[in-house]
């Protein structure tokens, strides 16, 4: 049964994970050490796997015949609904780790709540993703502390990443009509209800890492409405070129 609002909501969930998964995959072969290279690739594959399930579900909710591949490879940047946080280039290792930590805690709370979604398919995907995400939190938190409490250089890089990323965290928790409608029907979660739990989990780790939490200040948003930074288009051109050059090919 078509459900346009739930389609919009699930598309956001899928796009966050597809874009961040692709950003992480850019580390493949470039990790600081072999073990971490594999760890980042594992997390990347977890996220792309979650995105695949979510976009497939979105396609069926839309009922216009779009598959997960159509949605991933044949939409332009303006049609993507990911938060801005996940689309920035991978940066240095500190940037990647701090972003991963901020997003993973958010994702863990979101998936925990979505396990009780009225939509049983979404609830099932959330239950699977929650287990993966718990590990992502553990892994990235360990690294945030290692970098923050490490050398002067690792601390400075982690702090810069946090300062640069903080203004994009607000978008994760800003709710619009789509969020409120799916929350009211019991299908989705109002993201604004996750913010205090997110702070309760994020701040102690930053504190342990010796990192200063930036002032709240102005929060940048736009991705949920298709208003993206220039970075997403460049990323998509690389991510989509194979599928667009050889439509219908399988491998």
């Amino acid at each position: 049964m078509p459900s346009p609002v739930l389609f919009d909501y699930v598309l956001r969930l899928g796009d966050d994970r597809l874009v961040l998964g692709h950003r992480l995959s850019e580390w493949c072969g470039h990790g600081p050490i072999l073990e971490e290279d594999i760890a980042l690739a594992n997390i990347s594959l977890d996220l792309i796997g979650e995105a695949s399930l979510l976009l497939k579900l979105a396609g069926s909710l839309e009922s216009k015949g779009r598959t997960e591949d159509t949605l991933a490879y044949f939409r332009d940047a303006i049609e993507f609904r990911n938060a801005l946080l996940v689309e920035f280039p991978k940066g240095d290792f500190g940037f990647t780790i701090v972003r991963q930590f901020l997003f993973s805690v958010y994702s863990m709370l979101q998936m925990d709540a979505l396990q009780r979604s009225r939509n049983t398919e979404l609830a099932g995907i959330a239950a699977k993703a929650l287990k993966e995400t718990r590990y992502h939190v553990r892994h990235s938190a360990q690294w945030v502390v290692t970098l923050g409490a490490g050398t002067d250089e690792s601390n400075a890089r982690a702090q810069k990443a946090l300062d640069d990323l903080w203004r994009y965290t607000g978008e994760l928790f800003s709710a619009d009509d789509i969020d409120r409608e799916v929350a009211a029907s019991g299908d989705g979660v109002d993201p604004s209800t996750l913010e205090s739990a997110w702070r309760d989990q994020v701040l102690p780790v930053l504190n342990r890492a010796g990192l200063r939490v930036p002032d709240a200040g102005y929060m940048q948003a736009g991705g949920r409405g298709g208003r993206h930074t220039e970075h997403l288009g460049h990323m998509l051109s690389e991510m989509q070129i194979l599928a667009r050059s050889h439509p219908g090919a399988s491998w």
């Binding site: 050490i33 594999i38 290692t146």
Partner: protein, 98 residues
């Protein structure tokens, strides 16, 4: 990593996995890590991605004391000519039910 160190690698840890059927932990390989928690995570990511384990041990490689090739003669050869150390060497006496 200390500046000027000739070895840029982190300390080595040995990884032991317990298979899902519950047998004893078996040596799987080794990983580099700076802390025990990091070693555990790296072992998980490198050696147990496909459901190979239900439990992981990691131990600093430096903590393992190993026998050397020179030990082979005195350690292991004396066992070769002592078949009476195997239970099969003994016949079951008459009248004993097995």
């Amino acid at each position: 990593m200390t500046k000027g160190s000739s070895d840029s690698q982190w300390p080595l840890w040995e990884v032991f996995l317990q298979p899902p059927k519950g047998e004893a932990h078996e040596h799987a390989g080794s990983v580099h890590a700076t802390t025990a928690e990091q070693a555990l995570q790296n072992a998980r990511d490198v050696y147990s991605r496909r459901g190979e384990a239900v439990s992981i041990w990691v131990v600093p490689s430096a903590s393992i004391t190993a026998s050397t090739p020179e030990d082979m003669g005195p350690f292991f050869d004396p066992g070769n000519d002592k078949p009476y150390r195997h239970p099969q060497f003994y016949k079951v006496p008459r009248g004993v039910r097995v």
